[in-house]
Symmetry: C2
Subunit: 230 residues, 2 copies
């Protein structure tokens, strides 16, 4: 009994459909399928209301299957967070490499990567936020979220240093880097919670605007007058 809903719930499943159904699906494929369903459930119902039954139903499988591929609910959630952290890190690292050597281009690419559709959509943001909410009281989550931030922020600190040298700014690189990366995370939060008038593009533009204030010799201001004054 395959529910049609589960097959088209997330538009980003680009794996061949015949690989995901039937008994032939490999172990790894099935694990990924369950992780996807977990993210769906976290986004739809929140952390507290996410149940094994809901995850299984979302994946179009039966209840017992989750404990077969993952030992427990805890392990499933950790694997899900690990997957999101890996995906996020791979994404910005790729963007960084593609940006070349210029630090301003690199910082711009990093920020753009944060607001890329594949990373920054309501589904994933809601899942991230669900984990953040529990991170305080769960060392495992805190480590995974912390690892995410640490590497990312080291890169931003380094970029701030190089931009400071190039542009002759007088900010404190560490402090500014902390502010910038915090702003990016805060914008994610706004995107997830705020009204719909805060779009991905608006958040990105806002980040670029602040970058233009901090690094005036490296970032151009968007200078668009088409914004509605609310």
């Amino acid at each position: 009994m395959w529910s049609v809903a589960s097959a088209m719930k997330t538009p980003e499943k680009d794996a061949p459909a015949d690989e995901r159904r039937g008994r032939k699906a490999s172990k790894e494929t099935r694990r990924q399928q369950l992780i996807d369903a977990t993210i769906d459930s976290l986004a739809k119902r929140g952390y507290a209301e996410t149940t094994m039954a809901d995850v299984a139903e979302g994946a179009g499988l039966s209840r017992g299957i989750v404990n077969f591929h993952f030992e427990s609910k805890e392990k499933l959630l950790v694997a899900t967070l690990q997957y999101m952290a890996d995906e996020y890190a791979a994404h910005w690292r790729a963007a960084l490499v593609k940006a070349g050597e210029d630090p301003a281009r690199q910082l711009g690419a990093l920020v753009a990567a944060d607001f890329d559709r594949s990373i920054c959509n309501k589904r994933k943001l809601a899942a991230w936020c669900a984990f953040w909410g529990e991170a305080k009281s769960r060392p495992t989550y805190q480590v995974l979220c912390g690892a995410r931030d640490a590497a990312y922020q080291n890169v931003i600190v380094d970029l701030c240093r190089r931009l400071k040298e190039e542009g002759g700014y007088d900010f404190e690189p560490f402090s500014t880097a902390l502010g910038v990366s915090a702003m990016l995370e805060g914008l994610w939060l706004r995107l997830m919670m705020g009204p719909d008038e805060v779009t991905r593009e608006a958040a990105h533009a806002s980040a670029r605007d602040v970058l233009a204030s901090i690094f005036p010799r490296h970032f151009e201001r968007a200078m668009r007058r088409d914004r509605k004054i609310a």
Copy 2:
């Protein structure tokens, strides 16, 4: 049976002790006591693991009492969030009034208020974050959190406008205001999750640093060289 721990768990209980114990405690006092215990539990165990029994135990009362003063767990949590939102709003509004008429002073006061000890401590930040994590899937929470942000951000937008006029900056007020308020929220997140080396003072300094970049004619840079280069 009064647990000693509950009496000294939170250092900020300045209400007279004899008002909080015994049967004389008024309805309102008892509600507040339970709300405090709820914040404690959210901070210590996270949203998902917060139970009625834990709240009652934290307050030094018996299990059934919560359903007497609040009808249900849901109502207790909403009341708790409402309390935190009210407290937060009252705090920054007071800071705003006290700052006088100068927009730069006002913005500085607003930012300082965000990092004030009474508001910005691990206990409350963890509770806020717990609610954020569930807000996506709970309209009631989303409304309360959203209301918090909306008023706050309108003030910041207005301050950005006035500062722009005064200083002749060329940023877009709305966009910059979004970035600034997002940064403040992001710093809260960092304070809660990040390593202990990110202190309240460091976060505040970071915010001031970015403000100095955005409004160079209104905010002085801290220019401290005592920061360790990590």
